[in-house]
Subunit: 148 residues, 2 copies
């Protein structure tokens, strides 16, 4: 898809992401996962419900992820699959001006996530996820116990 | 300035505006103005304080308006002068995809504002401003008394 999207459209989405978007990774406690946590990366763009239909049209241009309406009426465009996040970031990366660190860190995390073979690898991944929290919020930092 | 700004940069700012920006007009009661109100148009882009220095750099690229830090830490990039709003909108208009109605209405308002010669003209202008509120919020609508 990204081949078919014009450079100005890619730049547009980079601006949208810098302005209103969120790049983050959740480390969700989940005993069914090998190391006790699910690593869930996300890119989310937001819009008030007023522009719903235009926003949905706009997001469908990208051909990745999905939109959903929150209970408070805010529309979210969510990209959560590794391969789709990679595609989206490849598209906007040359034009992102504010969230450059988040973009790089997310790519590092996807690499690390796909390479996890043992507990040590997982700890490296969890550290990267922690850095994300520092980057986005910089305030509180939770200590987590990685179950073997 | 806008001649020197690349098309992808213009598209970037269009995306930023669609995602996080605000286009609005305040009708401020002010007895020193001929018709009792000051018509104050604004374009504002927002950013958390974390990205402050990058955001300021970014906005300085445009060469219009100014940035300020609100008490709650949010950074605002504000364009409030008629001629500067026109320049900014001329730059982003071809790439705006969501706030298209707000862009058109703002241009109409600037035209009307610059042509006010009598109370009738002012009432036309005030109607346009009211339409803005409907566009942005769609809920409550205040009735205002235009002092002659």
């Amino acid at each position: 898809m990204s081949q078919l999207i014009s450079e100005t459209k890619k730049a547009y989405f980079a601006g949208f992401l810098d302005g209103d978007g969120s790049i983050y990774v959740q480390l969700k406690p989940n005993p069914t996962y090998k190391y006790g946590y699910q690593v869930a990366p996300y890119i989310v763009l937001f819009q008030s419900q007023k522009g719903k239909s235009n926003f949905e049209k706009l997001c469908s241009v990208i051909g990745l992820g999905y939109t959903r309406e929150r209970r408070d009426g805010i529309m979210e465009y969510i990209i959560g699959r590794n391969d789709e996040i990679r595609k989206f970031l490849a598209m906007v990366k040359p034009y992102v001006l504010l969230k450059t660190e988040q973009v790089s860190l997310m790519l590092q995390i996807l690499d690390a996530k796909e390479k996890v073979e043992n507990l040590e690898d997982f700890k490296v991944l969890a550290k990267l996820v922690d850095r994300f929290r520092e980057l986005n919020y910089s305030k509180k930092r939770k200590t987590r116990i990685v179950t073997p």
